[in-house]
Symmetry: C2
Subunit: 202 residues, 2 copies
């Protein structure tokens, strides 16, 4: 790993480089992105780039971490209310609304990086896996709270349901990306919600 910044100014410079790199990666793909282009976009000199990052892979690792944060921080308000049935429905509606705004395009940024780099760089794969782990943990915590409050029955296997729900999100995003149509995500989430609903007390 390159040098971690010790000053606020250094941290801002590093953040600016990572943000520029994330943009270039989104436009050109992880393999097509060049350090020259990241430097021009940031802007940052070659010596600044190599001060903070060992090489392109090290920069892509930072992009992966930043991608996790962007995706998960963007849902934090929704995650905070996942502990009720209404909050769960609101979260699923928000995901579909977000995709509708984009015309079904783009897919999940974490999954997109995984598809490009997951089989090439094991450290980056592990970072992206940790993003999915955090996401799944937030869903699981919400479902566990619903069990505690009695909104779900005690026999609900929240670890299984959380993993299965996140898979529905990811797969729904893949199919929607292919079809340019948010319907697949809506159907996938309706499936996940109906499965969870089957564990509500009768």
């Amino acid at each position: 790993m390159g040098t971690q910044p010790s000053t606020d100014r250094g941290r801002l410079t590093r953040q600016r480089i990572v943000a520029a790199a994330a943009e270039v990666v989104a436009e050109k793909g992880a393999l097509g992105a060049s350090l020259d282009e990241v430097g021009a976009r940031a802007p940052a000199s070659r010596s600044q780039l190599y001060h903070y990052f060992d090489d392109k892979n090290d920069l892509l690792l930072a992009v992966a971490e930043a991608t996790n944060d962007t995706v998960l921080d963007g849902q934090q308000d929704l995650f905070d209310h996942l502990g009720t049935w209404d909050g769960l429905v609101r979260w699923s509606d928000a995901l579909v609304a977000f995709l509708e705004e984009r015309g079904g395009k783009g897919g999940c940024p974490i999954a997109n990086l995984l598809g490009q780099l997951g089989e090439r760089d094991d450290a980056i794969r592990a970072v992206l896996a940790s993003g999915f782990d955090r996401w799944e943990a937030d869903i699981r915590a919400g479902l566990a709270a619903m069990v505690s409050s009695g909104e779900l029955r005690p026999d609900a296997d929240v670890a299984w349901l959380a993993s299965s729900t996140l898979a529905s999100v990811q797969g729904g995003l893949v199919l929607s990306q292919a079809r340019r149509d948010p319907l697949a995500l809506r159907r996938a989430l309706d499936g996940a919600l109906e499965l969870i609903a089957s564990y509500r007390p009768i």
Copy 2:
């Protein structure tokens, strides 16, 4: 589109080029694959490549079509028995077993191409979407047969369940690829199966 071959020999040459291109894309990524490398691998001369394909994009389109066929033809025997509950379980077990053999690696080849090319080339995106459409249609036909035979209730919305099930497959593959662990696919498929099972007659 490049020239479609009119002779058996031409068809074989074209197939050999596409197969070589699919290998190079799997190894180097779609953007990293070069025509030179495809030519060397096939082997095929530059003039042969340009006889059958207009350019690299045209070749990638053929790779996308071949990828659909590989993924779907590989499941055809399983699809043929999707019209019973036992066949559905066997199909899901086979997907998990296939992923276990690979140590959770690799993800879905159709989704991998989509992640690399879906936002860059709309013709290729449409081909990959048609692969998912065929896959979903096979699942839907199986579920419809189960409704006809009485294994599922008439109120089962087979279009929704088929789409939701394919999303579970795709999302389970994404999470398993990230974690190098087939568990996420197993959990996602168990979710899909339990949802379908809720439409069995009581």
